[in-house]
Subunit: 452 residues, 2 copies
């Protein structure tokens, strides 16, 4: 008896991305290193997931102290912890039923933490009001929003506009929900900018095969490392208003902004300043997370979505949808509290960086400067021989490059084919750790020589 | 512009259970108590969710100490923590990328913890082998299994057999996935036992309207407080084999077993001892969780499913389905490690209770004895006047009872109408805390008098 016949067809379509091949290789190399069978390098450096702690960045002490005291309140009596840590932990425990982080919370999140998030947003947006009622804390808010938006069954599939390149998880989530993906291309030549004409082209193309209802934007960009200008955001909002599209704004890298003239402005803020008709009608969901930014707490699973201009009935449905889930992990909720209300301004929370020309000097790689986020998405100008060799192996050329890079240097990055890219262009996603850059430079020269 | 028209029809059908009315009332009463407007009692006792910590039960110190040390590894140097706590935390941190619980883990869970779960299962089942490959750690394993099982679209809906009474969350999850619910009634008169004839009746009725593919069992029972005999489990497995049904065994209360002759036997163990044809073919998913049992860590979101006899291709699909999710919360994973490998036998982990005749002496309430789990599901023999009065108010009679109970005593329990029950029978779910029982007894006498 096989259960295969019963499997949902949607699940069958879920693709395994090429990164799994790289992950398997990376695990194998790590095992070989443990058995002293490798010489070139001492460890695999995992740059594949944007996971700060995996990459060796330390967690923020204040965050971890508060978490420890919440989990084990006997520490509130411990002299080794700072007073503000204990006060914060004590305050948070009072918000937990039975005074325990082991209790279920409201399925939309602890009310006090939603208030905290809401105040943070108001501060961030220079006073634009935010209501805790519009905040939904969850470890899978994008998934839930898609569940709300995407009609299953019916003759015409629900379409969502998504950028190329974009990270695979979101594309997978869309496929998972049975949505039609309508790709729009970011313009690499102009610093990966979003062009409204391209949105329009994509939308009209999409309308021939599905029912487009939403436009997904990632700002600051993953993997592109860019940040949208205010003008560009206004254009996108106007486009969404004209075409009656729901805006899904992935703004999880909002705290990673580098360069003197670079400033993050949220879609919500810009929307609120665009005149009453647009400001009060365009529907928007803005996502943020404790996994990214200066927190980097991927393992805690804390994120939120803020809903703007939603029909009250729809908001009620959203609440109902959330209520069918158990509460979000309490550790992740606490992380959000600490992220949105850090101990004081001027602390590590407010790290600043200057704009980085990461790849300026490497022949065969061109790269838009890093403006925001964790990543850059450098373009590989590969020798024809490398491309032919890859195709012979039935492999994407940038996948070939990444496999070699992993094998030779222990750098585990992701190939551009996974994010989407224009035909016959090749990329990889990279983050900007000094050690990684050195390994890459040495490897790249060798690779280009080998395949020239 | 309203987004209402775009909402997925499935979401629209998600129902808000009656418990929300009670939750709203409970919150209001709690607020009134804070403002000294209540006299009868000092606090609302929340028995609505099976949440131990909310109900005032303390967390296990070992568990919380290990968690605290994992979140804040500086505690590994702290003399106040026991050595075995530090060793365990240190060992767990070594399994985390970058040595941090803030890193993503494998989306099916940390390998070492899956091994730990697997060894626990082998011990529990007296040596029946278990492979970590068949263990999937997640905070929503039931949801994910349903996603795998339930076909969306198509002319014939996927059907799942579920018991009456059962807790509302699972029913909601099924509706959420668009599955057809095929109810089978547990026999209250015979101690809420599961009767195969009733399964057969329900299945044949179900086949007229949908395509039944799975049978869901909750053992030990929620809300019934019963435990299945080995004979009953064997009958169910044979039925599943004959009818080619996938078994979904919710065994999250497996560690809560009371009474001298009462023993928990897992579906997997019984299945393994039923002769090779059945033992090697009946497909089974068994669920367990750190939210229930002696851990009671609902807020951490740690659970797992073990898959038995799945076609390798299907298991691969399952892995793919999991890989589209981010990793499960690391705190919950750690809780599973501690639950399945507690410090030593004889510790609080191994609490035993004797069988409890909870309601023996209250006229108007009859109740099967508590054998396992947290809950009993007592039957209310309500006066006709109470029933008529409730119907006039367009309210289920047991809802009326629960509202009065909350108002008068501060006990927040759930009405039977939420779990399902035979027509014209009324119940409520109750757990067995002494304080709650005293409050109930006083109230019940008064209620019966008022409506007689």
């Amino acid at each position: 008896m096989s259960f295969l016949r019963e499997i949902s067809p949607l699940v069958k379509n879920t693709f395994l991305s090429e990164r799994d091949v790289l992950s398997i290789c990376a695990a194998q190399i790590a095992a070989e290193i443990q058995q002293d069978e490798r010489k070139n390098y001492n460890e695999v450096l995992d740059l594949s997931s944007g996971d700060l702690h995996r990459g060796g960045i330390k967690s923020i002490t204040f965050v971890r102290q508060v978490l420890a005291a919440c989990f084990y309140p006997a520490l509130l009596e411990d002299d080794s912890l700072p007073l503000d840590v204990k006060q914060r932990a004590d305050g948070l425990l009072r918000q937990c039923d039975g005074g325990s982080v082991g209790s279920y919370t409201d399925s939309c999140g602890i009310v006090k933490i939603k208030q905290c998030v809401s105040k943070f947003i108001t501060r961030r947006d220079g006073g634009v009001p935010s209501s805790p009622d519009n905040i939904f804390i969850t470890s899978g808010s994008q998934m839930l929003m898609l569940k709300l938006l995407v009609q299953s069954g019916g003759s015409c599939r629900t379409g969502v506009l998504i950028p190329v390149p974009t990270y695979a998880t979101f594309t997978q989530a869309l496929e998972d929900q049975g949505a039609a993906i309508i790709p729009y291309h970011l313009c690499e030549e102009q610093g990966w900018t979003l062009q409204v004409e391209e949105l329009r082209r994509a939308l009209h193309a999409g309308r021939r095969t599905c029912n487009p209802v939403a436009l997904y934007i990632c700002n600051p960009g993953n993997p592109t490392g860019i940040i949208q200008s205010r003008k560009s955001i206004e254009e996108v909002i106007r486009f969404a208003a004209e075409e009656r599209l729901f805006l899904l704004a992935d703004e999880v890298y909002q705290s990673c902004v580098y360069g003197e003239d670079t400033e993050f402005e949220s879609y919500k803020k810009v929307l609120s300043e665009m005149g009453s008709t647009i400001a009060s009608t365009v529907e928007l969901a803005s996502f943020n997370s404790a996994s990214k930014g200066f927190m980097g707490e991927c393992g805690l699973r804390g994120g939120y979505v803020e809903l703007v201009n939603l029909d009250p009935a729809v908001k009620e449905y959203t609440r109902t949808l959330f209520s069918t889930r158990s509460s979000p992990p309490v550790g992740g909720q606490i992380a959000l509290d600490l992220m949105t209300d850090p101990p004081k301004p001027g602390d590590p929370s407010f790290l600043t960086f200057s704009e980085v020309e990461v790849f300026g000097e490497i022949p065969g790689i061109s790269c838009q400067p890093l403006k925001a986020g964790f990543f850059v998405f450098p373009c590989l100008h590969l020798p024809l021989r490398a491309i032919k060799w890859a195709k012979k192996k039935q492999m994407e050329p940038d996948m070939l490059y990444c496999l070699h890079l992993l094998e030779e240097t222990g750098l585990h990055v992701r190939p551009g084919c996974e994010f989407g890219q224009r035909k016959d262009s090749y990329h990889f996603r990279f983050d900007t750790m000094e050690d990684a850059l050195q390994r890459l430079k040495t490897f790249h020269k060798q690779f280009m020589k080998e395949f020239s």
